[in-house]
Structures are given as structure tokens and as C-alpha cells.
């Protein structure tokens, strides 16, 4: 890090550094004001205050006034301070099953990264592109997507990023100096993003949404159910992503033989797979089978934690590896978000909001699904994926019974759409990493990203209409 002195006029510096404080004050005043006010007709006092807390967290999430995990923690204490429920009850929401499922998944991803198994798989998937730049591009996108089926997409991006960087160097691209360099990074990021929605392991979004569903007292969605529901969206968007990339940006190299050589050399450097790697691969497969077959019976979290225990029993990873590689903060955020969603539903606040504010404008289930997915897709460009889920799923779950659709549909719709942010670095860590490569700027990507948003929405709608009924999910 380097020190820099901000020499702008002091009022400008103060405004840029302290703008949050007036907003905090305003929020604090708002909370106090509503704490004193009587609830609107038809809503209990607790429900009213829960709604106020939800709106406050919404502001905190949307404007990033606090780090996401801290807002998560705030959402646990705010209901207590506002007298919605006793502390014991509020904090108990944190201990929900999905939080532990996510914990297990993150630990598994950390182990994959640490052991080098994920890099080996990535290299195997990238190998043999020969001289063809198009083929290498497809392989990068496919490798990123496939790995994101089993690891959280940000872990995949973190692992792929250095690989792509050496490839671009080998091909002698300077940053922002070649269309193909840009393509490689985008293929990596979009691969991760699209692959990330395919299973429950691609990130925390799906477990978070499923957790909210469960806490609302609904039947859960299993691993296999999720994947089979969204697979068509994944396939369509993947194909479209590849086509959009290759149509929008020219491939300005003739041969990628150098990169191919590099990948072969790197693969050779990895040597033979170690016993730990083989064991880890077995565990990943075992975990997927376990989630699919016994997820309902034992709970998804039980299986993922069991896998973690096995990891340590066979000393595949050390605790300190996990300390560095697991995103602990996001777990706090999820705990808080699930709690808040539960509070919103259990106090009847969500239902009231929907009945009075949303339903009068929204009659048909189809309208609801199309709107929710569209809003989710657009919001996720500007907000973190998890924040979008934290905001929209509780609302959606409250609407579902009144509009007469299965609450699971809300989860399918929002959680998948919330994963598909293609343009801005704030939407997902994969895009942030791709940007940090310095091969493209936001303006280079606005158009293709908007096109992808549209395609994703259409794909989701088509899947909902044509595919979901075959699986017994009816809107």
C-alpha cells in the first residue's frame, strides 16, 4: 500500500468521507420515530417495527453503509432493540441450518483451492486448445462454469484469475491493449457467473434463499431439485454468453499455441495427484451424492459438516488454511439475513406489506414471477448477489401465498436471477477480479451485459413456462 494525501478542498474531503454519518443519524432518527409511532391499520406493533427494521437494513445493504456482514449482525440486534422480540429468540435465528450448510461448502471450496486439486482440474479442462483461440476461449468459459458447479464461483474466479493472467502475458497482451485479452477475462468471469447458479454449491445465494424458505415453514428444495430446475437456464445463458462474447469482441490473434504450451508445462509441474487430492475428489463426489440422496433425510447442513469433519480426520487441510481462505464475513451476513426474513414473516409484516402495497398492483402469478426475476436481474448488477436475495426473497415469500403460487418458485426465480450480474465489479467477485486484470473498462461491457440480462430473463421465463411444469412446478 502507498500513502496518498487527498488534497481536494476540505469540505469535499469531508463530504466524501463522512457522508455516511448524516445517513446514520437519519436512520437512527427514523428508527426512533417509528418506534414511537402506532402501527398502521391491520398490522401488529411487532410487525410494524419488524418492517421498519427491514427497511433500515435495506438502506444499509443497498447503499453499503456498513459492510454486509455487519448489517447482517445489526439485523439480529435491531429487532431486539425495537422490542419486536426477546434477544434469545432473535439470536436463535442465526443458528439456522443453511448457515451451516454454507459454512461446510465454503470449507470444502477452501480445501479444493489449498490442495491444488481445483487448479489441476482447471488445467486439465484448458489443455489441448491447440492453436485455436476460439477453442481456448470456450475451454476457459467451460472450465470456469464446470468448476463453479462444485465450488463457490468466487473461489473459482480467484483460482482462475492468475492462470488467465499468465496466459495473457504469454500471449504478450498488454493491459487494455487487445481484444482477445479482454475476451479471456470475460470468459472466465461469465463462466463463473453462469456456472455458479447451476448447483447449490456455486455460492451462498441459493442456500440463503432456501434457508429463508425453510425458516418460513415451507418444504425445502433439494440439491437435485434445484439443479434440474435451473439447468436449462444455465445451458442457454452459457451458449448465449459465448456467442455474445465472440460477436461483440473481435479475436485479434491467430494462434494460441504459446498458451497451450504454457498450460501443458503447468500441468506437468503439478506432478502426479497426491493421495490428499484423490481423497478430496472422492469426498466432493461423496458430498454431492449425499446431498442428492439423503439431503432431505439428514439435512443438507449435516452432510456438508460431515464432509468437513472427514476432511480434518484425514488431514486433508489444516485449520490455518481455512482461516485464510474462507469468507467468514458472508456467513455472518447470511445468518442475519435469514433471521430478518423469518422475523418479517413470523410477525405478519411481510404479508401486510404485500396485501396493502403490492397486491393491488399485481394480480397474476406470472406477472409476479416476471417482475421479480427482472428486478432481481437488474438489482444484481448494482448490488451484491446475496444482498439481492436478502431483500427480495422475504418479500416474495410473503406475496406467494396471497397470489397463490408455490413459495419455492420465488426461490427458484430470485436466487437464480440474482446470480446473473454481467457488468459491474460490485455484482460478483468474479467480475471484480476480471476488472482488476485491467483489460477492459465498464463502458466496454455495458451493451453485451445488457443483452445478456435480457437473454437471461427470457431464458428464465421460457424455463419457467416450458420446463418447470415437467418437474411438477406450476405457476
Amino acid at each position: 500500500m502507498k500513502v496518498k494525501i487527498d488534497t481536494r478542498p476540505l469540505p469535499v474531503v469531508i463530504a466524501s468521507r463522512w457522508w455516511r454519518f448524516p445517513v446514520y443519524l437519519l436512520l437512527g432518527y427514523g428508527l426512533y420515530h417509528f418506534y414511537q409511532s402506532p402501527p398502521p391499520e391491520g398490522l401488529s406493533l411487532e410487525g410494524f417495527r419488524a418492517l421498519v427494521v427491514f427497511l433500515a437494513c435495506l438502506v444499509l445493504w443497498v447503499f453499503h453503509l456498513l459492510p454486509l456482514p455487519i448489517t447482517g449482525l445489526f439485523s439480529l440486534i435491531a429487532p431486539v432493540l425495537m422490542g419486536v422480540m426477546p434477544a434469545k429468540q432473535a439470536f436463535s435465528f442465526f443458528g439456522s441450518e443453511p448457515v451451516f450448510f454454507i459454512l461446510g461448502v465454503f470449507i470444502l471450496a477452501a480445501a479444493l483451492l489449498k490442495s491444488g486439486l481445483s487448479t489441476r482440474i482447471a488445467l486439465l479442462l484448458l489443455r489441448s486448445a491447440g492453436h485455436s483461440p476460439k477453442r481456448l476461449l470456450l475451454q476457459i468459459m467451460a472450465a470456469s462454469a464446470l468448476l463453479s458447479f462444485v465450488m463457490s464461483e468466487h473461489a473459482v474466479a480467484a483460482m482462475m484469475f492468475p492462470l488467465i493472467l499468465v496466459i495473457t502475458r504469454t500471449l504478450q497482451f498488454i493491459p487494455y491493449g487487445g481484444s482477445y485479452g479482454r475476451l479471456l477475462f470475460l470468459a472466465m468471469a461469465w463462466g463463473c457467473i453462469i456456472g455458479g447458479i447451476a448447483t447449490m454449491l456455486g455460492g451462498g445465494r441459493v442456500p440463503l434463499a432456501v434457508g429463508m424458505l425453510q425458516e418460513a415453514g415451507q418444504e425445502t428444495i433439494t440439491f437435485l431439485q434445484w439443479t434440474s430446475a435451473v439447468l436449462p437456464v444455465v445451458l442457454i445463458t452459457f451458449l448465449a454468453g459465448y456467442l455474445v462474447l465472440t460477436r461483440f469482441y473481435t479475436i485479434d490473434v491467430d494462434s494460441v499455441a504459446n498458451a497451450d504450451d504454457l498450460i501443458t508445462t503447468k500441468l506437468r509441474e503439478c506432478g502426479r495427484p497426491l493421495l490428499e487430492e484423490k481423497f478430496l475428489a472422492l469426498l466432493v463426489v461423496g458430498a454431492i451424492v449425499g446431498w442428492t440422496l439423503w439431503g432431505n433425510r439428514f439435512g443438507m447442513a449435516t452432510i456438508s459438516i460431515l464432509v468437513v469433519v472427514l476432511l480434518f480426520m484425514f488431514r486433508v487441510v489444516e485449520w490455518k488454511d481455512l482461516e485464510e481462505n474462507v469468507d467468514w464475513g458472508i456467513i455472518l451476513m447470511y445468518g442475519g439475513a435469514i433471521g430478518l426474513s423469518t422475523i418479517l414473516n413470523s410477525t405478519g409484516a411481510g404479508l401486510w406489506l404485500v396485501k396493502t402495497q403490492v397486491l393491488p398492483h399485481l394480480g397474476s402469478p406470472w406477472l409476479l414471477v416476471s417482475l421479480l426475476s427482472l428486478v432481481s436481474l437488474l438489482l444484481t448488477e448494482a448490488l451484491s448477489n446475496s444482498a439481492v436475495v436478502a431483500i427480495l426473497v422475504p418479500l416474495g415469500l410473503s406475496i406467494a401465498p396471497t397470489v397463490g403460487i408455490d413459495p419455492k418458485i420465488i426461490v427458484y426465480t430470485v436466487a437464480s436471477a440474482a446470480g446473473l450480474g454481467y457488468a459491474l465489479p460490485i455484482s460478483t467477485p468474479a467480475m471484480a477480479l476480471a476488472f482488476s486484470g485491467g483489460y477492459f473498462r465498464i463502458k466496454d461491457i455495458v451493451l453485451p451485459a445488457l443483452l445478456m440480462d435480457l437473454i437471461s430473463w427470457l431464458a428464465l421465463m421460457a424455463t419457467a413456462r416450458l420446463w418447470w411444469p415437467l418437474l411438477g412446478i406450476r405457476i
Partner: protein, 381 residues
């Protein structure tokens, strides 16, 4: 008599003790501390040939020159000088106090000191090399002892003689950090010119509140080396950058009067102020025996116009004169008001406020707040 003229004359000619004056009059560095009319503080050398003599009648002190008497106040030397730190070092071997500024030379004397052109901040300039080395802990203890006896708002650390690219900041950083950790006081550094400007950002970021960059002479003459021009350009660049970063008035540059034509000094005052730098006019005779003493001829009368101009220019630009704290060894820019017709109501009121306890708290608070706001960490390119 105009108090500013009196101060200049005393600085130029020194004083001699009148008959029957008890000893010790002077502090361990040979300086007698007096407060002149209009509360002008001055530290004066004892000088046998001086036209001014100091007398004491019924505990009232006065100066006498050609039969004329001027009432003054005498301040006894700081008792803290005679105390010792826990490691056994005498405080007077660690620091010197001038007005509201504690001058420290952790690395030994600078080029002034070595040239014999004492700037008097360290008092016994010549003996600096012989001082025992002291630690940061010694320094903190020594400053604490001084502060128990006297209010000082600044510690000034001198980089000594430096040739490295950073101008001496790197070496001084741990000292600054230590002072910041233990003391609530403003810190200034007397530095050589850095080769790269990012050192100036770093200097502010580590907790330095004010900065001195000096270039001894302005006008190149045939005796100066060919690199002088280059040095001078670097000097301007560094000063410009520092003025952007530090608070208004907190970048200072000493100007030695008496070795160049007055017009040159005048030009340089204008240039410095134009760049947001407060010039500090240094007017003392070189140490006896110094090769420079034969060149030093200029009289207090001749330089009065410079001080008047400095005061007038400074008040026009709004540079805060409060950062100049070594008020007993120089005629400060604000004291130049006695040589000018221009009113000094606003800067004086401000100065009076800073002198209060509340003023001190506000100054220190604002300085830390400003740093908190302005310093950022950015990824290295």
C-alpha cells in the same frame, strides 16, 4: 523605542551584564531570555562589545543604551535543563527550548551548525557533535519534563546532515511515531530536500504537522557549484508539493539574511509566499571565528523593510503565522507588524486565541482531524 527594532538590535549585537548582576543569567547555551515591551520574547547572546547592558534594580530589569533605559522582564533559565532522564542523560544534552518550540537534533548538527552560522535553535551548535547519543525514550522523558515547567506546542526534529533521497524522513519516522504515541503535541521536521516528491506525502502521513525545507542561499553566484540550479528547482518543487499537502502556513523555509543583496531576499520572500510557504528570516551574526563572519555586515536598520514586507504579504495571503513558534530566536513574521503601517487585528486575535488552553486543544484537535481526513492508503501501482 520600537520593540521590533530593539529585538533586531539585540539579536545582532547581544547584551552585556551590567554591574552587580547575579549569575547565572543565561541558560546552558549562553542565551539570556528577556521579554521586551509589547511582550516580544528574545534570547540574546552575552557579548562584551554590545551597546546594550542589562541591569537589575529592586528586582526590576531594564536595558540601558547610551543613557536610555528600557524596562524588560528576565526569565530564569529552565530548571528542566539541569534535570536528568532515567538513563542519566542531562536534558540540556537532548533538547533546547525556544518560545513554544522544543528543538531536537537526534542525528547531530545540520549544515548551518557545521558552517558556524548558528541558527541558534540548538544553542551550543558547535558542541552538538560531542553530545552523547540519546534514545527515543530519553527524548520523550526530556520533553515531558520540559512540558511540566513550560507550555510548548511544537517539537521540531532536525534531520541533521543528510544525503539520502528521502531527505531524512525515513530515519526520523520512528522518532515521530514514538512522540505521537506518548505526547499530545505538534511535530515539525527540519528536512533536507527529498529527491522524490512522494516522501512529502509520507512525511505528512506519519504524523508530522509542519515542515521546514531550507535552501541556504537563493541567488546563484560564480562560487556556487553547477548543481545549484538543479537544487533550486528541486527546492521549489518540494515546497510547492508540501504546500499542497500541509495546512496553510505549516510549510516554512528559513531565509538567511545578510549574505545576499537585500533585493534578492525580498524577491525570495515574495516567491515563497506566492507558493504558500512562510519564510522565516534568520538574522544572527555567524559564530565567532566562522569564515562567514567577515561577510556578515548587514545592520538592523537595513533589514527592517524586509520584515515589514513579510508581514504585509503574509496577512494578504491568509497563511497562518501561528506555525512559527521559535519566537525568541527570530523576529517572527507577525512581529513585523511593528515595522509596518498595516493593521494586524485579525492575525493577532487568532494568535491570542491559540495562546489560550482552549486554543491549544483546538489546534491539536484540528491537526489530527485534518490528517485523519486527508491521508488515504491506495494500492501501490
Amino acid at each position: 523605542m520600537n520593540p521590533a527594532v530593539l529585538k533586531l538590535e539585540l539579536m545582532a549585537y547581544g547584551i552585556r551584564p551590567g554591574e552587580g548582576l547575579f549569575q547565572p543569567l543565561a541558560n546552558p547555551f549562553g542565551l539570556v531570555h528577556l521579554t521586551l515591551p509589547e511582550k516580544l520574547a528574545v534570547s540574546i547572546h552575552l557579548q562584551e562589545r554590545s551597546p546594550y547592558s542589562l541591569h537589575n534594580r529592586n528586582n526590576r530589569f531594564f536595558l540601558e543604551k547610551n543613557g536610555e533605559t528600557i524596562p524588560v522582564q528576565w526569565t530564569p533559565p529552565l530548571k528542566a535543563y539541569e534535570k536528568k532522564t532515567s538513563s542519566g542523560l542531562a536534558i540540556k544534552e537532548i533538547l533546547t527550548v525556544h518560545g513554544g518550540l522544543i528543538a531536537v537534533h537526534p542525528k547531530g548538527p545540520c549544515r548551518f551548525g557545521l558552517s558556524g552560522l548558528s541558527c541558534r535553535y540548538c544553542g551550543s551548535t558547535k558542541a552538538l557533535n560531542e553530545h552523547p547519543p540519546f534514545t527515543k525514550k530519553d527524548l520523550v522523558e526530556a520533553i515531558e519534563m520540559v512540558l511540566e515547567e513550560k507550555r510548548c506546542d511544537f517539537v521540531n526534529l532536525s534531520s541533521g546532515r543528510v544525503t539520502s533521497d528521502d531527505g531524512g524522513v525515513e530515519w526520523l519516522t520512528p522518532w515521530v511515531v514514538e512522540l505521537r504515541k506518548h505526547l499530545h503535541i505538534l511535530i515539525s521536521l527540519d528536512l533536507a530536500l527529498p529527491r522524490s516528491l512522494e516522501w512529502i506525502d509520507k512525511t505528512y502521513a506519519i504524523g508530522v504537522d509542519a515542515l521546514y525545507y531550507d535552501l541556504d542561499f537563493f541567488n546563484p553566484d560564480e562560487t556556487r557549484p553547477a548543481t545549484f540550479q538543479e537544487q533550486r528547482d528541486l527546492h521549489w518543487k518540494a515546497l510547492e508539493q508540501a504546500a499542497k499537502i500541509f495546512p496553510a502556513g505549516a510549510v516554512l523555509s528559513h531565509l538567511v539574511i545578510g549574505f545576499e543583496p537585500l533585493e534578492e531576499t525580498q524577491k525570495r520572500i515574495d516567491l515563497l509566499i506566492g507558493k504558500g510557504v512562510v519564510p522565516i528570516l534568520v538574522y544572527f551574526p555567524p559564530l565567532d571565528g566562522s569564515p562567514l563572519s567577515s561577510r556578515w555586515k548587514i545592520t538592523p536598520q537595513e533589514i527592517q523593510g524586509l520584515y515589514a514586507r513579510l508581514f504585509e504579504k503574509l496577512t494578504q495571503t491568509g497563511l497562518n503565522p501561528h506555525w512559527v513558534q521559535q519566537r525568541d530566536v527570530i523576529l517572527t513574521p507577525l512581529e513585523g507588524r511593528f515595522l509596518s503601517d498595516q493593521p494586524a487585528r485579525y492575525p493577532l486575535a487568532l494568535q491570542n486565541f491559540y495562546e489560550t488552553s482552549l486554543g491549544r486543544i483546538v489546534t491539536l484537535g484540528l491537526a489530527s482531524l485534518r490528517r485523519h481526513l486527508r491521508v488515504r492508503e491506495v494500492p501501490a501501482p
